[in-house]
C-alpha cells in the first residue's frame, strides 16, 4: 500500500471511465499462495453481478484484490479507467466485508455515525439508514447485545450511508432470516439500477433471484461470465433420488442414482413432489440437472 488518505473524504476525482471495473489478467493471493489465477473481465453497465463459487473458490480474495487491499502478483485492476491505487479510484467503491465491522464499545448509532464521518455522510443519512434497514430500535444497543442477524443488518447499513459508483458486497445476506434477506436483496436491486454491484454468494437460488450476470469462480479461475438467463437453458430437467431402492420409475429416465424428468419450469416442482408422494415414494434429494451453475459445485 503506497497511498494514504485522510479519514475525511477527499473531493471527488473525475475518472476517465466513470463507474467501471476491469480486471486484466489478474493473479493474486496471500504470501506464497496464489488464489486467483489470470482473472480477466470488464464491467461497465449497472446491475447486480453475482460472484458465485463454492467456499474457498476465491470470492473474498477477488473482492480484496478489486478493492486494492491485496496487490495482484500479476495483472492490473482498474476502477473508472485508472489503476485501483490511483487517486480517486478507491473513493468510487464500497467494499462490504463478511465481517460485521461494528467497533466494539460503540452503540449501533455511534458506529453508524463513525462510518458516516469516514464516508463524509451527514447525521440525517444515519437516520435514513436506521429507518431503511429497520434498525432504529437497535440504536442504543452495543455490538455484544446484537444477534448475528442484527449485526449483519447494521453492517449492511454502512453501504447505504453515501452513494458510490461500485459496490463489492461479500455475502451481504449471510446470517439473515429469509424475509430480511429478501428485503435487503430488494434494496440492493434498487441500488443496482444505477450502480454496479458485485455480490458474492454460494447460493444458486439467491444468484437467480438477484443476479443479472454471473461470474463463476472455480479453483481461483473465472469459469464463467455470462447473463444469468443464458445459464438457465431451454430445458428444465430435475433429478430425483429416492430413499428406497427402485429399479425404474414410469415417466422418468435414469442417470446414475437420479431419475430424470423434464419440467416446464421451477413452478412444476411442487406438483411433481406431490405426484411422487401419492405414488408412495420417499424423496431423498431433488436437484436441477445439467445446469452449468450446479456443475461448479460438483
Amino acid at each position: 500500500m503506497t497511498s494514504t488518505s485522510p479519514l475525511v473524504p477527499a473531493p471527488p476525482v473525475a475518472l476517465p471511465d466513470g463507474g467501471s471495473i476491469e480486471c486484466r489478467s489478474v493473479s493474486s493471493g496471500y504470501l506464497r499462495t496464489t488464489v486467483l489465477k489470470e482473472i480477466s473481465f470488464s464491467i461497465r453497465e449497472p446491475g447486480v453481478y453475482v460472484v458465485l463459487g463454492p467456499n474457498g473458490a476465491g470470492k473474498t480474495t477477488l473482492f480484496r484484490t478489486l478493492s486494492g487491499i491485496l496487490r495482484p502478483s500479476e495483472g492490473e485492476v482498474r476502477i473508472g479507467g485508472v489503476p485501483v491505487d490511483a487517486p480517486g479510484a478507491r473513493e468510487q467503491l464500497h467494499f462490504l466485508t463478511h465481517m460485521d465491522g461494528i467497533p466494539a464499545g460503540l452503540r449501533v448509532r455511534e458506529a453508524l455515525e463513525f462510518y458516516a464521518r469516514v464516508e463524509g455522510a451527514s447525521p440525517s443519512d444515519v437516520d435514513r439508514v436506521l429507518d431503511q434497514l429497520q434498525i432504529r430500535e437497535l440504536s442504543h444497543k452495543f455490538h455484544s447485545q446484537l444477534s448475528a442477524g442484527q449485526r449483519k443488518r447494521v453492517s449492511v447499513g454502512r453501504v447505504f450511508l453515501r452513494p458510490r459508483a461500485l459496490y463489492l458486497l461479500d455475502e451481504p445476506t449471510a446470517n439473515l432470516d429469509p424475509k430480511l434477506a429478501k428485503e435487503i436483496r430488494s434494496l440492493i436491486l434498487e441500488l443496482s439500477r444505477e450502480k454496479i454491484v458485485l455480490y458474492s454468494s454460494h447460493n444458486l437460488f439467491e444468484a437467480r433471484e438477484i443476479g443479472r450476470w454471473v461470474l463463476a469462480i472455480k479453483e481461483g479461475r473465472l469459469a464463467l461470465f455470462d447473463r444469468i438467463e443464458n445459464l438457465r437453458g431451454a430445458r428444465f430437467v430435475v433429478g430425483v433420488r429416492l430413499l428406497d431402492p427402485v429399479d425404474s420409475l414410469p415417466g422418468f429416465s435414469r442417470e446414475g442414482d437420479y431419475f430424470l424428468r423434464e419440467l416446464a419450469g421451477p413452478e412444476a416442482v411442487p406438483p411433481l413432489l406431490r405426484e411422487l408422494d401419492a405414488r408412495g415414494l420417499r424423496v431423498r434429494e431433488l436437484r436441477e440437472m445439467n445446469n452449468p451453475l450446479e456443475d461448479l459445485f460438483t
Binding site: M1, T4, Y30, G68, L70, F95, M99, D100, I102, A104
Partner: protein
Amino acid sequence: MPLLFGTGYALLISILLDLTSPSAYATVISLFLPIFIVVGSMGGLTVFVNDRINGVLEYLIAYGVAARRLFADILLAGLALGGIVAGTTLGIGLGLYVAEGNTISPTLVEALLVYSLPMGFATTAFTSTIGMYWSSLTSPREGMNSPTGIAPLIGLAPPAATLAVLATLGESHFLAIVGGATLVVVAVTSVLLRNVSTLLPNERFLSPA
C-alpha cells in the same frame, strides 16, 4: 480500563510512599513508572485487536487508509495514554512529595528524565507494536496468549533487562546503558513499523476468524 489501572496503581504507590516514606518514594518511583506507563497504554492495543477482529481495519484499508498509518495511530494513542499516566502520577506524586516538605533532588530529576520517561515511552511503543504484530499474525485467542496478554510480558523485557545491566555494571555507566537501551528499543520499533505493509498479504491479518 487499562488507563484506570495504570494510573490508579501508580498513584496509590506514590501517595502511600509520599505519606509514609518519602525517601523510598524518591527511589522507587523512577523504577516503577515505566511499568505503569506501559499498563496504562494498553487501551490502544485493545482497540486495535477488536477492530481487526470485527473488520473495521479491513474496511479502513479498503477505503484507502494505509496500514502503516493505522499502526502508527494506535501507537500514538498508546503514547498519549501513557502520557496521561506519567503526567498524573508525577504531577500528584511529586506535588505531594514537595507539599510534605521534601525537595526534589537532581538525582531524582535525572532518573526521571534519563530513565523513567524515555524508557517508559520507548517501551510503550515497543509493546504496542509487538502486540499489533502478534495480533496480526495469529488467530484470535484469549488469556495470556492473546495480544493484550502477551504484549506487556514481552514489552516489559527492555526495562527489566536495562535494570539488570545497570545492577551488574554499576551506576557509573547509567547514561550510556539507558540511552543505548532506549535507542535499541526505538530502532526495533521503527523497523517493525516500517515493515507493516508486509503483513497485508497475510491471510490471517485479513481473515482473523
